[in-house]
Amino acid sequence: MSSHSHLHAMPQLSFSGALRSELTRFVSLRSTWVFLGITAVLFPIGAAFLSAVMRFASTIGPDGKPATTPAAIPGTVYWQSITTTGGTCAVLFAIFAALALTAEYSNSSIQTVFVANPRRMSVFWSKAIVAAALSMVASLVGIFVAWAVVAIVLAPAKLSPMENWQNSRMILMTFLGVALSMAAFAAMGVGIAALIRSTALSILAIFGLTYVLPLGISILASVGTNLSWLESVDSVMPTEAYSAFLRAGIEAYGSPGWVPDWWQAGLILAAWAVALSVAGSFVMRKVDIK
């Protein structure tokens, strides 16, 4: 090849380059847009459904007949209906992020990735960061649309007033808290994918961690006479931590076991993301690409 006119400067690896490369990889796949689109749409769909139900319920009296004066809807419900599908979206973001990596293992394109950038830690973290960032952006888009939907649906309803600090915290949790949580689940997805490297098993692991395991723990805790301590274990599972984080310490939550404060729940969620990511990155660093 005779012309190398555009390589005068010595090209070098950089972390910003790795991030840009990963962003290109993500946005150049149709599946990325489909996944992000679905999750972004789920927020307003869930918000519309829950807010409509709450508005209807407020018009029904305790005797089951239409109330003469609609009851006030709790202020927290206003914000919670915006993020009602957050738990489902969290799982979807984890799967989306996991698929981004396992697909590269299954179709061997991971070889090209590591040949271009043999620093595997850099590859892992750039992938995790981009997956988390895209999940944040998609969830924020969904939340803003859901906010508009809830504002329209509940406009005629009467809301119970909240204290200023409660209102501020709910706003913070609804937007920043949920977006950061989605990022954490996406990072967990990349970590799990790097640990397992199989698409089917990674998806199973995500479902296991977010649905099956908490359910199993709850069932065990409820049937075993000396197993109530499992309730505390349940509280530190990712989905339970996410729920506790979003309650923002405004609503009490009854449980026989230990229940973390909202900020502790946030830290637990972050710890899951960090632990799975670190474990995944170390496995990715060591594993042979045959």
């Binding site: 690896l13 840009r20 697909a103 090209t112 271009a116 620093r119 042979d288």
Partner: protein, 336 residues
């Protein structure tokens, strides 16, 4: 330069590499030959840091590939035919690689054009034929204008024009002082392109030659003669001390015994000299053939016993000179 020193690797129970050592020098194309499962791809992956060796070293320009600050300018690699994500376009695939090193979009355009993929650059790689995928791989390999090329069976799936294109690319890179390591299981293909040969089988280096040495050692030729007058024949050839005459017993069948013919194999003299002597002595011959050992035959002989996967009707390796094949056409194209 690519250098491999005492490299060993075991996958589970299978010893894939057994302390292999060789070098691919700057300015030369090194053919890396071996049957399927011999360890070629494992060696190349070890060079690129994709596989961790159990022992030994695999270095690119004296350094481990993983420590390079600019890997794409050190090595361009073709490993798998379908190494791009099926859902990604050719352009995006190359752009993603280019971004890691801050390589410009213009360079991506250059390599797309060079590989003849400009018209299909927005098509998803999953829809590419094997040949188009190989062209994309080669475009990716030269993206960083690397000092070394590591090509694992790059002509698989390419049409004749594509095969020539890869051959010329290898020669061009070598001519500009760079090292090219080209793997194949086809001796005839490698002999047309390479300067040096490294032959591997069952994880061991079986032989290392320059192509010229290999040709000199294995491209022996002989003259095969069937005559009804064996005594006159041997007497005549006894006058040529440089001629080695061997009587073959393949004509022990009923027909040849009845006809009284014998078959001889003469080495050490050219065909013309043998024919001249036969004519001058008035010896009757029924058949006169020149035979040459093909490079493929010699290669099969070298790798005999080192084949990991063979069909039940395995090819029987032939000793030099036992080939029934006429002059191997691959020989005619071998560069001298």
């Amino acid at each position: 330069m690519l250098s491999v020193e005492n490299l060993s690797k075991k996958f589970g129970e299978k010893q894939a590499l057994r302390g292999i050592s060789f070098e691919a020098h700057d300015g030369r194309v090194t053919g890396f030959l071996g049957p399927n499962g011999a360890g070629k791809s494992t060696t190349m992956r070890a060079l690129l840091g994709l596989i961790r060796a159990d022992s030994g070293t695999a270095l690119v320009d004296g350094h481990a590939y993983a420590t390079s600050r600019s890997p794409l300018t050190h090595v361009g690699a073709v490993l798998d035919a379908k190494s791009a994500h099926k859902g990604r376009s050719a352009r995006s695939h190359l752009l993603a690689m280019a971004h890691t090193h801050g390589i410009s979009r213009q360079r991506v355009e250059e390599v797309l054009a060079y590989a003849g993929l400009k018209d299909v650059d927005k098509r998803r790689a999953g829809g590419f034929s094997l040949g188009m995928s190989q062209r994309l791989n080669i475009a990716a390999a030269i993206l960083g204008d690397p000092h070394n090329l590591v090509l694992d069976e790059p002509v698989n799936g390419l049409d004749p024009e594509g095969v020539r294109w890869v051959r010329e690319l290898c020669r061009y890179y070598a001519s500009t002082g760079r090292a090219v390591l080209l793997s194949s299981h086809l001796m005839s293909e490698v002999a047309l392109t390479a300067d040096d040969l490294v032959i591997i089988g069952r994880g061991r280096i079986l032989a290392q030659f320059t192509v010229q040495e290999f040709l000199e050692r294995y491209s022996s030729h002989a003259v095969r003669v069937i005559t009804p007058t064996p005594n006159a024949f041997t007497t005549a050839f006894a006058t040529l001390p440089q001629a080695h005459v061997e009587q073959l017993n393949s004509h022990g069948d009923e027909a040849s015994v009845a006809s009284g013919t014998a078959e001889f194999r003469i080495t050490g003299i050219p065909l013309a000299q043998a024919a001249e002597l036969i004519a001058n002595q008035g010896i009757v011959v029924y058949q006169l053939n020149e035979e040459r050992t093909s490079l493929e035959d010699a290669y099969l002989q070298l790798t005999h016993g080192a084949t990991e996967y063979a069909s039940s009707a395995a090819v029987q390796p032939q000793q030099p000179g036992q080939s029934q094949r006429p002059v191997d056409t691959a020989m005619e194209g071998v560069r001298s």
